[in-house]
Amino acid sequence: MTPAAFLSDHTFVMVTAGTTVIGGVAGALGSFAYLRRQSLVSDVISHAALPGTLLAFLLLTALGRDGRTMLGLLIGATVTGTVAVIAANAITRHSRVAIDTAMALVLSTLFGLGMLLMQHIQRRPLPGKGDIQDYLFGNASTITRADLTVSLAVGTLTVGVVAVFWKEFAVATFDRDLAGLLGFHHRILDPLIFGAIAVATVIGLKAVGLVLMVAFVVTPPAAARQWTRTLPGMVIVSALIGAGASALGAYLSIVLGPVPTGPVIVLVLFLVFIVSLLLSPRSIVLAAYRRRRSPALP
């Protein structure tokens, strides 16, 4: 397929543009989750998003509006996602339960709640209700121009928040105690950081589904870390890897396709990660290889 043919197809452009935005934003925010050593909050947020979107759907429908507006669902998902992360951290602070157990508990309870809600909705004659399939697998080909606009706007806002609160995000991520002592209270900062990570996770749920969205948040930072030494460098490289892999993956899924877009992007991300692990300056493989080639001087 020629680039011209590609660019003239509305769906192709939407899919590529949409996933690129998702990849870039998730990569950028994912860096902070990674450096907090809690990359898997993305998994928690993804699962917690289900009851969030459904509650938003019910609320909007009850208010007489279209239950499926992207922005409404985004807000619902972000709220429950952020609450889920805060809850998991709170459980750890107030008991001997470790963070991984707390995350797994919150994730499964909220997702179970979501499943119950879903069942409740399926039984009622409500307009526009979706199916669990879409949440689990996503569907990139249904990205509309409106969706893209909302993603772009929300994504830019989130990245903007990171830029404005850069030093606060950096201190809180690097040394939580110091941030508190300097006066950047965690009660303000935690919801801000968690909320930003939650937004970055939920904008992609409709397109790639909740399981694969984890890869968008976890993989680019893990790959980027192998190439950079500074925090701004890492965030930028991670965003670029996320956006680039998404664009490439979307393109490949269309020309080699039709293959679902989300999975192809995830595989591209994984490959980029493996290559980064093996060939970057930090790579132990490369270091061992170099040591073998040039034995130590006497």
Binding site: L35, R37, F165, E168, D175, R176, L181, G183, T230
Partner: protein, 238 residues
């Protein structure tokens, strides 16, 4: 004169076990107060509870006559083992610069003034040439000096240090001692958890002795660091 720090009845429990009991201590302005005691006597906990890093079950701490949130700029903390990821992608310069963030408050970016303060702090601890180095590539002593510089960059009136000399090489030890002397000359106050009984009187003019979570004695070294006090704190038979 308002004391630099005043602790009244501070108690901390960890999962039902009392770790610090009813601690009371007054730190006059301008002194170097050593906090000493055997392992597990609650020294680190005392500092952390004062600073709100752990939640006390009772008691309070005041700094320069006020609660901590109102005088944050004036209190600096140099922790012992930080919960810091040494693999974090950041340089020495970046970390020291973080000490200046408190004065900036929310949203404002560090500028020329802050960078100069950070640079001076690095010079005075002998790590000026390490500014661009990633923190994972530092030795233990160098890391300690980075956190010392970070605290210096904050320019606080009260320095709270948790075992700054623990496991540190000779060069770093000297750098820390030099800073201590300078702080004393400048009339600043220091609270210092110290592990070595033998050198307490070298660095400190006041001391607080802890034993099994309780304050055994607190005040000037000549009156409050006697053999019987030490014996009581360390549970030694006379």
């Amino acid at each position: 004169m308002i004391p630099a720090a005043e602790v009244r009845g501070l108690s901390v429990s960890y999962q039902g076990r009392p770790v610090l009991r009813d601690a009371t201590m007054t730190v006059p302005a301008g002194v170097v107060m050593g906090v000493v005691g055997p392992n597990g006597s609650g020294k680190s906990t005392l500092l952390k509870a004062m600073l709100g890093l752990v939640t006390p079950s009772a008691g309070e701490a005041r700094f320069f006559g006020s609660a901590l949130p109102r005088v944050r700029q004036r209190v600096g903390y140099m922790p012992q083992h930080t919960a810091v990821d040494w693999d974090f992608p950041t340089t020495v310069g970046d970390v020291v610069l973080m000490g200046t963030y408190g004065r900036l408050g929310w949203l404002r970016r560090p500028g020329r003034t802050e960078r100069d303060t950070a640079a001076r702090a690095m010079e005075s601890t002998g790590i000026g040439d390490l500014a661009g180095r990633q923190i994972g590539q530092l030795s233990g002593g160098q890391r300690q000096r980075v956190f010392l510089a970070r605290t210096l960059a904050q320019q606080p009136d009260l320095f709270v240090m948790d075992e700054p000399f623990q496991g540190v090489d000779a060069v770093s030890q000297q750098a820390i001692v030099d800073v201590l002397h300078r702080l004393r000359r400048e009339g600043r106050t220091v609270i210092l958890v110290h592990h070595d009984l033998g050198t307490v009187t070298t660095y400190c003019d006041h001391v607080t002795l802890l034993g099994a979570g309780r304050v055994i004695s607190s005040g000037g070294v000549d009156k409050h660091f006697t053999d019987s006090h030490i014996a009581a704190a360390y549970g030694l038979a006379r």
